[in-house]
């Protein structure tokens, strides 16, 4: 039994310690906003924050997250509030199918923590999530909007 802190709440999770954090979040904690896209750290759909750092949760073992603060898309903003990245996403109508967007938003939120006013180049380097619908043009607009919000 492992105790995992997600979005400030503690979850008792009864799985093997090498279970990827992604599946502990989705299937054991029941928070399905974090998505599975590849399982091999290629797509970024599973991006969460672990102690404030963006992490591809499909490729981190649950055991590595014990004792740390895990934040998922459901906990990015405090209950009832909207994070500035989410707001920019809504204002710019970024999502198409939306499946990649939890990970995209989490990656962008982490970027803005380290670089509050990112240049296009900063964005290119930091945001490597795949979006098969191809929302990148709106993602870029919305990042700049969130940065100046």
């Amino acid at each position: 039994m492992a105790s995992l802190t997600i979005n400030g709440r503690s979850y008792e999770i009864d799985v093997e310690p090498d279970t990827p954090l992604l599946w502990a979040i989705r299937e054991n904690a029941g928070l399905t906003g974090t998505k599975y896209g590849c399982g091999v750290a290629q797509c970024g759909a599973c991006t969460v924050h672990v102690d404030g750092q963006q992490v591809r949760s499909c490729s981190m073992a649950l055991s590595e997250a014990i004792g740390k603060q895990v934040t998922t898309i459901e906990g990015l903003a405090s209950e009832g509030a909207v994070h500035k990245v989410q707001q920019a996403w809504i204002d710019h109508d970024v999502p198409q199918c939306g499946y990649c967007q939890s990970g995209m938003i989490m990656a962008v939120a982490a970027l803005l923590e380290t670089i509050p006013q990112p240049t296009d180049e900063d964005i290119d380097l930091a945001i490597t999530n795949i979006c098969r619908c191809g929302t990148f043009q709106q993602v870029r607009e919305a990042i700049h909007a969130a940065a100046s919000a």
Binding site: T19, G37, C38, Q96, R132, G134, Q137
Partner: protein
């Protein structure tokens, strides 16, 4: 080689429903018997429910998968209904309800960029009829003539007296009225909701993790299944040793799925997948075990020979005679590979099967096809089956197929009463796609002594999608869809007049199953034709734009989009130092499209795309904002395909299993797309797919301008060409 056509029961199941009623699809709205919506409110008609709190529920039969159709269709209904847009919400009727109500909502199929363009008329009529019924109900209450009543934003006004009533107040009375026999639709130039750049209706939940996709479905007592289908298409499952995994944590059952697959059912998907990976499985690879990309390529190459039998798609004059009299001929051979849709969310379906009922929850582009698949796979009558459409994480054509649904039903049938969520791993998704078909093309152009193009033969050799997916739609063995963008007329017509023309198809169907892949056949046809047009122009020392224009005088709409991108990119003014331009045009899915690019190339192989200008004439633009997004997104799909997209075949199976070997573009590779939306009216074209096809040729032609090298096969990674 060859691909066995599957029996298609869908047309049977749905056909019976429609025929049995004697109702034609043209009849857009429900009968006079009032029907209750799920929440108990009486619906005004099949398309519109107005709740007492003034919420307007618009029914949407087509599937939203990110392309914005849901919002666009709601706009069209709301426009005619003249309701308050801020009160609009949407609801999917289920396929089971549709069959029970004699297909009152028409076709559910959402592919071929048809979501709006093939249903706009009857959904608008649904909105208009509902409005007339609401007015009638108000007029009855006031004992006033209908002609004295006006509507705006969900409020009916009796003009002479100034009395008003809201839709929600008269909706119940309206629901009991006889629907009007016919309605008049608004002129699109009077639109105030449709045609406007409105925001999507489904955005917020996609930003906070609340949107439920198929993969997120949870049902009480549900178990999870992971599956492996024989990696060699056409192979079968010989044996598996479940003794190795049955004791593993969470594993409940191991089941055979049809002839070729095995699934592990467990408490969680992670347990199911991990157990499946360790289980010894023996396949019988069958007769395709030696097929490779090389053997397929060789077979297709033989089909390029003009002597090989071929279906004729477009013909004018006499190419043979033109070639005989030509002063000069130019010839080139092109090739396009297999590609996977790689939707962001892998295929999945959740099924609850009991002896009395089979229920399916899944993301699909075609609820009715899933319904028919559930009926067939469950063996239950259609009134005992139901399908609930869930938001799909991308479709791109892949989710028009029902293979994964059939598998899920087959598993659930072996565990009656337990809901089963079957989810494919990314690897399974890559290995069991319905791939962009593989083709090659040989093109020969003939010039007279004055460098006029007098003849063009375009031979396509390769795979037919219809032969595999919809054999009943073939015409005397011919797959007309192969000629998308090359037809003499219609929704995918060629934009050039060449006096002696022959476009034909030597059909060769390898065993790798093809499917409709966003853009379908215009993708490769545009590369073939538009690259070759460039080759022809250069071969006679003419400007590629001017060369095209001379052949396009009888194709004004094709020409208009081409001219628009030429003007925006500044074709006639010199490009910046080190920057080179490419241009092209094509038509597909009822829309005219063109693109122009500016690129620079370093080291001969590193491409930087500085600008992309894309023009679209879709006839009518229902939501310019969303169309803009579809266009920008289509370049991501099209350029990913150009630079990276290839599924190679070895030992009868696909070699690429994940995004590490089948990459997709990211932010840093994304050029800015400037879209020009130029709806000219009078026709309805699609917007989800058309511009994909002009992405690649525009870049390839610019690459030639920059380097003098003509690239004739996709993807560019095979030529060592990469994004700078």
């Amino acid at each position: 080689m060859g691909h066995a056509p599957q029996l298609n029961r869908r047309s049977f199941v749905l056909g019976t429903a429609a025929i049995g009623s004697g109702l034609a699809l043209g009849i857009p709205f429900g009968g006079p018997t009032a029907v209750h919506a799920a929440d108990g409110t009486l619906e005004v008609n099949a398309w519109v429910v107005v709740r007492p709190d003034e919420t307007v529920v618009v029914r949407i039969a087509r599937s939203e998968m990110g392309q914005g159709t849901l919002t666009g269709l709601a706009q069209l209904v709301a426009e005619e209904l003249e309701c308050d847009w801020s009160k609009v919400t949407t609801e999917y009727p289920t396929p089971g309800q549709s069959v029970a109500r004699k297909r009152v909502w028409g076709d559910f199929s959402t592919g071929g960029s048809r979501g709006v363009r093939t249903s706009h008329e009857y959904v608008r009529k649904g909105g208009a009829a509902a409005r007339l019924m609401l007015i009638q109900a108000a007029a009855n209450e006031w004992a006033a003539p209908v002609s004295e009543c006006a509507t705006s934003k969900g409020v009916i006004t009796h003009v002479p007296s100034g009395r008003t009533v809201t839709y929600g107040k008269v909706a119940e009375a309206a629901a009991k009225l006889q629907p009007p026999a016919d309605v008049k639709l608004k002129d699109p130039k009077d639109w105030t909701i449709a045609g406007k750049p409105l925001k999507r209706l489904d955005t917020v939940e996609k930003t906070n993790g609340k949107m439920i996709y198929g993969a997120d479905i949870k049902l009480p007592g549900m178990l999870n299944a992971a599956i492996k289908d024989c990696p060699v298409f056409g192979g079968t499952l010989k044996s598996f040793d479940d003794s190795k995994i049955l004791g593993m944590k969470g594993v409940k059952k191991v089941v055979r799925v049809g002839e070729s697959a095995v699934a592990v059912v467990a408490d969680t998907w992670w347990h199911a997948k991990s157990a499946l990976e360790t289980m010894p499985v023996v396949w019988d690879d069958g007769k395709n075990a030696n097929v490779s990309s090389e053997s397929i390529g060789k077979w297709l190459q033989e089909g390029l020979d003009a002597a090989q039998p071929a279906f004729v798609g477009n013909k004018a004059g006499d190419v043979k005679a033109a070639f005989a009299s030509a002063a000069k001929t130019v010839e080139a051979v092109y090739a396009y590979p297999y590609q996977n849709h790689a939707t962001m969310e892998p295929m999945n379906a959740t099924v609850l099967y009991t002896a009395e009922k089979c229920e399916v929850w899944t993301g699909t582009q075609n609820g009715e096809a899933v319904f028919a698949a559930a009926v067939e796979a469950s063996g239950l009558p259609s009134d005992k089956c139901e399908v609930y459409k869930i938001m799909p994480g991308g479709g791109f054509g892949r989710r028009g197929m029902t293979d994964y649904v059939r598998q899920a039903v087959a598993i659930a049938k072996q565990m009656p009463g337990t809901p089963i969520k079957l989810m494919w791993s990314r690897e399974e998704d890559m290995l069991h796609g319905r791939y962009h078909p593989v083709t090659q093309s040989k093109l020969i152009g003939a010039f007279d002594a004055d460098n006029n193009l007098i003849g063009l033969h375009m031979r396509i050799s390769g795979q037919s999608i219809l032969a595999s997916v919809r054999p009943e739609a073939m015409q005397n063995g011919m797959d007309t869809v192969t000629f998308q963008g090359l037809n003499a007329s219609g929704e995918a017509a060629i934009g050039y007049t060449v006096p002696n023309l022959l476009i034909d198809h030597s059909m060769r169907n390898p065993h790798v199953p093809p499917g409709f892949w966003r853009g379908v056949n215009v993708n490769q046809n545009a590369i073939y034709l538009e690259s070759f047009m460039d080759e022809l122009a250069h071969s006679v020392g003419q400007d590629p734009l001017e060369f095209r224009r001379k052949l396009m005088t009888k194709h004004p709409k094709h020409l208009a989009v081409l001219n628009a991108v030429a003007e925006r990119i500044g074709w006639t003014t010199p490009a910046p130092q080190g920057v080179f331009r490419g241009i092209c045009q094509h038509m597909g899915f009822g829309s005219y499209v063109a693109a122009a690019t500016e690129i620079s190339v370093t080291g001969g192989n590193k491409i930087k795309i500085h600008r992309i200008v894309a023009a679209t004439d879709p006839g009518y633009a229902v939501n310019p904002w969303q169309i803009d997004r579809q266009i920008a997104g289509s370049f991501v799909y099209g350029l990913s395909a150009l630079f990276y997209g290839e599924c190679t075949v070895k030992g009868g199976r696909i070699e690429q299993e994940n995004f590490d070997t089948y990459p997709s573009m990211t932010m840093k590779e994304m050029p800015k797309v400037e879209s020009i939306l130029m709806p000219s009216g009078g026709f309805w074209g699609g917007v989800g797919e058309p511009t994909i096809c002009v992405a690649a040729p525009a870049v390839l032609n610019a690459y030639f301008a920059a380097t003098g090298k003509r690239i004739r096969s996709v993807p560019l990674k095979n030529h060592d060409i990469i994004f700078a």
